[in-house]
């Protein structure tokens, strides 16, 4: 990520701290999760309506926190996983991820345009994770759009992009899009935790590359991955 040894050391310490915090905060969370779920499912007939409502609120919060934990774990895993770069057939991979998205939501009418012969020299598992996040985002943020189009292509020899014509974003916020848990749409509008792009950035950084976003509100989003 950086050639500065002090910065590298600092990053490692922060990663270790993140790991320790996740590990230690996770233990009580798992207990709250397991026993509140058991309470709700096994005792709900015995609980007065108020208590049931409180408990349901707790379950909602726990479920959100579990999602955040999964996000942090995923960030940690992609940071630590071994990197083995080979030629990845991006065209085929994008096609397969898009088919999965279509299969999960067959009612959605989404056009896709995937350039032919796209290849990336990347770790296949990590690259799949990154591309899946980008396509899932494109899929999600075109949900309210008639004539949704998702495109995957190449701009310069080593820069791949995923483009959609969905909800877009405020360009002033472009710098914050890749920070974990930053969200730009209300949860009622588009669900999500705001971890996907952080994972994508981490994966691209591990390949020595960079990510950037282009777009505007209601004008769609393009995410570029430069993989040297």
């Amino acid at each position: 990520m950086t050639a500065d040894p002090d910065r590298a050391e600092e990053t490692r310490e922060l990663t270790d701290l993140l790991y320790a915090l996740t590990h230690d905060l996770g233990a009580p969370l798992r207990v709250i999760d397991g026993f509140s779920e058991a309470l709700l499912e096994e005792q709900q007939d015995a609980l007065p309506p108020d208590a049931l409502e409180y408990l349901t609120t707790i379950r909602g919060a726990v479920s959100r926190m579990n999602g955040m934990f999964e996000g942090i774990m995923q960030l940690y895993r992609v940071s630590q996983a071994p990197l083995r770069r080979i030629d990845v057939d991006v065209t085929a991979l994008a096609g397969s991820i898009l088919s999965e998205l279509r299969a999960a939501e067959p009612a959605r009418d989404v056009q896709s345009a995937v350039e032919r012969d796209l290849v990336a020299k990347a770790d296949p598992a990590l690259f799949r994770t990154a591309l899946a996040h980008l396509l899932q985002n494109a899929w999600k943020f075109t949900a309210k759009r008639n004539g949704a189009v998702i495109a995957v292509g190449r701009e310069e020899p080593a820069t791949l992009f995923v483009r959609d014509n969905g909800a877009g974003f405020d360009p002033a916020a472009a710098g914050r899009m890749f920070i974990p848990f930053q969200r730009f749409h209300s949860a009622s509008e588009y669900e999500g935790l705001g971890i996907g792009l952080a994972v994508v950035r981490r994966i691209v950084q591990r390949h020595g590359g960079r990510v950037r976003a282009a777009g505007a509100l209601q004008q769609g989003t393009t995410i570029y991955m430069e993989l040297p």
């Binding site: 790991y19 798992r30 207990v31 397991g34 026993f35 499912e41 940690y76 996983a81």
Partner: protein
């Protein structure tokens, strides 16, 4: 009808042991879980206990899941061995995979039920 299941649990957290029992019960088992957290107790229980499966945390006071599995192999007992750990570092998961040890992350503890279901089905 809950299926009886006798588990030797190598775990130093009582809280996690209670949680494990809860998920077993909710997963359709009538669990008899005996918790140990020292190598001596583990060796002793492996000598005589009537176990169906051994489930072990990864990091334990003074030893780890590899040591626990070695104790199981040395006991000569033919019992399935599953690691249930909150550790999720790729280093650990790779080491376990390389040794052919099945692993469930405590954050995904619900998955242990299907793994135990499969394990017990394969053996019966």
């Amino acid at each position: 009808m809950a299926k009886p299941l006798r588990v030797l649990l190598v775990e130093d957290s009582e809280r996690d042991a209670a949680l494990f029992k809860l998920y077993l019960r909710r997963g359709g088992y009538d669990p008899d879980v005996h918790r140990v957290d020292t190598r001596a107790e583990l060796a002793e229980q492996l000598q005589s206990g009537p176990w169906d499966v051994v489930v072990s945390d990864f990091n334990l006071p003074g030893f780890d899941a590899f040591v626990a599995r070695k104790a199981l192999l040395e006991s000569g007992r033919d019992l399935p061995f599953i690691v249930l750990s909150a550790d999720f570092s790729p280093t650990m998961t790779e080491q376990l995979a390389a040794a052919g040890i099945r692993y469930v992350c405590k954050y995904e503890i619900r998955n242990i039920i299907s793994l135990i279901d499969d394990t017990m089905r394969d053996r019966s």
